[in-house]
Amino acid sequence: MQIQVVRKILEHNEETAKRLRDTFSRHRTLVLNLMSSPGAGKTTLLESTLGTLQRSFNTAVIEGDISTTRDAERIAATGAQTLQINTDGACHLDSSMVLQALEHLDLSELDILFIENVGNLVCPAEFELGEDATITLLSVPEGDDKPEKYPGMFAKSHALILNKTDLLPFLTFDVERAKTAAMTVNKDLEFFAVSAAQGDGLQDWTRWIAEKVRGKQATG
């Protein structure tokens, strides 16, 4: 016999994400989900901005990796509270992993929680984590065609950070092409061009975060 089901396959993740969202709202903690290909510079971006942010805000980082604690060690060296999630092979974080990690965090003390997702331009876009904003990093060596090839990721993001701009003179990367393609799938996308390693362009990015924190704390 045929049984009508009509249930979302990722309903469990979505329900947990909603629980997370409610928890984050209650504590007025701004949560940013950072996604990109492996090696685009998520950890370096955090390393070079956490210092500035921590002068004004209490910040913690959840590090998602398939294995190793290398990134978590780099972040912990900045003084920010760091939690490592090893996904044991999974190519993305899901909301139940974040929920578990929260047991070790005191949200009432936190203004900002960064979630550094597993490096991957496809799967993380399908798994909400209760975040306020999704940030996608694209680095210059990856090529300017990535927004066209992975539109799902860019369509779901709130901000696009073009990283490693110090390499632009050495590579054929058309900034306008990448930006236009990303804005085509998502006209509300915020765009930042930075070199996390050299410290260029980071001010706009940290200012944007500061505004978001204020917005979040003004709610409720």
């Binding site: 249930r7 396959i9 990722l10 309903e11 999974a90 369509a155 006209k187």
Partner: protein
């Protein structure tokens, strides 16, 4: 893989709820711009169900076309560009190429199961 596992969890709960024990088929609808690769989902489903009451069941995957709503004039249209997905989709009414809203094409759900 985790999509296949969630799929199996839902099928299991529906089978228990309806007191059926053998699964013949499951019908899944997936939007075109979802990160679902039909062959990969099928393979994950077949390997995860080996040795269970779902073994050998057919996974029928239907792709939901991408329907867009023009960001300027509000006209609804279907975009069929295969290679670049919905980039530069020209609105048939006003010609606008950017900033369309996705109406359908993102969903991922189980429509029905066939079981005894």
């Amino acid at each position: 893989m985790s999509v296949a596992q969630s799929l199996i969890d839902i099928i299991k709960s529906e089978m228990d709820k309806n007191a059926v024990t053998t699964l013949q088929a499951v019908k899944v609808k997936a939007g075109r711009i979802n990160a679902i690769v039909p062959e990969a989902l099928d393979m994950a489903f077949q390997s995860l169900t080996k040795g269970t009451a779902m073994e050998g069941a057919r996974l029928e995957l239907e792709t939901v076309p991408l329907e867009l709503e023009c960001g300027v004039c509000g006209a609804r249209f279907t975009s069929a560009t295969e290679d670049t997905l919905f980039l530069h989709a020209e609105c048939p009414e006003c010609g606008q190429e950017f900033g369309h809203k996705v109406v359908t094409g993102r969903e991922l759900y189980i429509e029905y199961i066939e079981a005894d």
